[in-house]
């Protein structure tokens, strides 16, 4: 009952004219960002975060969460119409969405994607409402060693489940953490890593500088490179009658939608796993439980529905560890977490105690964002298709300008703009060689917290590392983290073992 009361309070905050307007505007903007090929929620949230200094923190995060949601819906649009995923989270949607569009059934795929996103979003927000308060109250008892263990778990998921090159993932984590250490040391106050005695490094490297550099500048350079200009937009015929017909057809896909929603949610909760693996897994499961698995990849609506339900669901799921534990579940939530620090909120389990109204307003706004996103999405399908035809030579300079001005705003130091430019260029060059960038962004946000909790723990134990292993909560979490770190190694050993026995059999 208490939960319902809190939720009601949250709705009252979310329904304030400013917040409601921000939700609607955020959803629409998120849909645009998601629909643009190459840009996803993380890019939108990183580039636009500095713009939210205009409004109070609660409104700011409501706005960014609405963008996050809208972008999750929007990603499907370019997956279906262009066959290019609007964001990595919508990769699985291309498998069946594109064939449907080629058969002239683009409207069917678009409506299916929007409806599935809505179902996934709604189920996950309900699950979120039920899970968050108990998890937060358990987490209140956590000390520094537990916090550190959780952060190790977040990094370990990148290595174990991220699927990227292992040494490159490790490298990305390490460099993010080192960059977070630049500036004045929190404990001793001594200046650290002041390269070339440039005073701009004294205030540290703001996570936004890295995030905008990588997700704004680097990502755009990457998109220019990989798209090569020529895009091929499918035709879509849209009318009210056809949309209603499409909705009726969706009845048969309810099972896949529900499966995708639940699966996505639980994958999303895992720190650092996020919506991309969630949607790919949902696609795989939908295919394997289908009566007609052969039709997948040739335009089966279930192949659109399952991943779309899962990626929306996972994006809500990834907010759970961010709000309750202070550990982000995805790059986007890492940036939201960093934003919370800028707005003067202390992330972690105490948030549910100290900033109750803020937390519940955010949860309530997720319900609202979900509803508006589906309405705007279906109502303005033709407009989003028009967005896809916008030439890059208009979008690119505007995004670059947003990055430069947004990178300058938080610290008002040109030094940071140059640094951001450098990160963007180097990030692009590294990304071309498959260095994953998300772990570095997560690491620069978590770095200060990780260092403090590690140093506090070591002080508690007089320098004994055993403190991370012999406590009842920290111990098991650390063990899971270590298993995840070693997972790729185990896999490769198993693989070579199997190869050898395979050869022996032959």
């Amino acid at each position: 009952m208490e939960v319902l009361n809190h939720l009601l309070d949250g709705f009252i905050v979310a329904a304030q004219p400013l917040n409601l307007a921000l939700i609607i505007f955020g959803c629409a903007l998120g849909l645009f960002i998601g629909a643009m090929p190459g840009l996803g929620s993380v890019n939108g949230v990183a580039i636009l975060l500095p713009m939210t200094f205009l409004v109070p923190p609660a409104s700011a995060i409501i706005f960014l969460a609405a963008i996050y949601y809208g972008a999750m819906y929007g990603g499907a649009i370019s997956s279906i119409m262009l066959g290019i995923p609007g964001a990595s989270t919508a990769v699985a949607t291309t498998f069946d969405g594109r064939p449907l569009a080629m058969q002239g059934l683009a409207d069917r795929a678009l409506v299916a994607a929007a409806t599935a996103s809505f179902v996934g979003g709604t189920i996950s927000v309900i699950l979120f409402t039920l899970f968050a308060p108990p998890l937060a109250s358990v987490a209140l008892a956590f000390g520094a060693p537990e916090e550190f263990a959780l952060m190790m778990l977040a990094f370990a998921t990148f290595v174990g489940l991220g699927g990227d090159d292992v040494p490159k993932t490790f490298f990305s984590i390490f460099i993010g953490l080192v960059l977070s250490a630049v500036g004045l040391d929190i404990v001793s106050g001594e200046p650290r890593l002041i390269f070339g005695d440039i005073s701009g490094f004294l205030h540290g490297i703001n996570f936004l500088v890295l995030a905008i550099g990588i997700y704004g500048i680097g990502e755009i350079l990457w998109t220019i490179d990989s798209s090569r200009g020529k895009l091929n937009v499918s035709q879509a015929t849209v009318s009210v009658k056809r949309i209603l017909g499409c909705l009726k057809d969706l009845k048969s896909t309810v099972k896949s939608m529900l499966m995708g929603s639940f699966l996505g949610y639980f994958v999303g909760i895992l720190p650092a796993a996020g919506a991309t693996p969630g949607s790919l897994m949902a696609y795989g499961v939908a295919k394997s439980i289908s009566k007609d698995p052969k039709s997948f990849g040739k335009g089966n609506v279930e192949g659109v529905v399952a991943p779309e339900a899962a990626n929306n669901s996972a994006s809500t799921g990834s907010m759970l560890p961010m709000l309750t534990l202070g550990i982000p579940g995805s790059p986007t939530t890492a940036i939201l977490l960093g934003g919370m620090v800028i707005w003067g909120l202390e992330p972690g389990p105490r948030l549910f105690v100290n900033n109750q109204d803020f937390v519940w307003a955010l949860i309530a706004s997720l319900y609202a964002a979900n509803l508006f996103a589906v309405l705007i999405n279906i109502a303005f399908i033709p407009m989003f298709i028009w967005v896809l035809k916008l030439p890059f030579t208009i979008l690119v300079p505007i995004i670059f300008i947003l990055c430069v001005v947004g990178g300058y705003a938080p610290t008002q130091d040109m030094h940071d703009v140059w640094l951001m430019f450098g990160f963007g260029v180097v990030g692009y060059l590294m990304r071309k060689l498959d260095y994953p960038m998300a772990p570095a962004v997560l690491a620069i946000v978590l770095g200060p917290l990780a260092e403090t909790s590690m140093r506090q723990s070591l002080l508690m134990s007089q320098g004994e590392f055993s403190i991370f292993f012999d406590r009842p909560v920290a111990g098991p979490i650390m063990l899971i983290a270590i298993v995840l770190f070693l997972l790729p190694l185990l896999k490769s050993i198993m693989g070579s073992f199997r190869k050898r026995t395979g050869k022996a059999d032959a």
């Binding site: 200094f53 390490f174 890593l193 030439p391 890059f392 030579t393 071309k432």
Partner: protein, 165 residues
């Protein structure tokens, strides 16, 4: 791709070494009663970076890894052109901010990118080149009260400041 992989790993290994040396300027050992010294955290992380780079280099010499037999060029002529134009014009824009300010360099950048690279009509280019700085000014200077750098164009804004504040 193969050569780029090695060059990048070597560059990163050198950078890691520099970070280690830089961290070691501070105490990296244990300070009694105060815990690990301020340099310890970055130092060991930089060691981690170095190990990863060496791992990638070692893998390269053993001929394994993602780009082990990739004959594809790291950047073909087209990609290189796009990169130099995109990153180069952005760099020039940021550099110009120091002299002619945001409100001088943003329109120039838009004109270059839209008109020269994009081949858009003059009317479309001009619309954006005029509107963008105005919107930026209204949003940042008026609404957020964040003054963006103006370089030598600063005095031209005095009348507007007088009007607003």
């Amino acid at each position: 791709m193969r050569r780029a992989e090695l060059v990048m790993a070597i560059a990163l290994a050198i950078f890691s070494g520099y970070l280690m040396w830089k961290s070691a300027e501070l105490e990296i050992g244990w300070i009694p009663k105060r815990g690990p010294g301020p340099g310890a955290f970055p130092f060991w992380l930089a060691v981690g970076m170095l190990v990863c780079s060496l791992w990638i280099i070692l893998r390269w010499f053993r001929g394994i890894g993602a780009f082990a037999d990739s004959e594809e060029p790291y950047m073909d002529r087209h990609a290189l052109n796009q990169f130099l134009l995109g990153a180069g014009s952005l760099g020039v824009m940021i550099g110009l901010i120091h002299f002619i300010g945001v409100y001088g360099s943003v329109p120039l950048f838009l004109i270059f990118y839209m008109r020269v690279l994009g081949g858009h009509t003059w009317s479309r280019t001009a619309t954006l080149a005029i509107l963008t700085p105005i919107v930026t000014f209204l949003f940042f200077e008026i609404a957020l009260k964040i003054t963006l750098p103006k370089g030598f164009t600063e005095p031209m804004f005095y009348p507007i400041y007088d009007l607003v504040y």
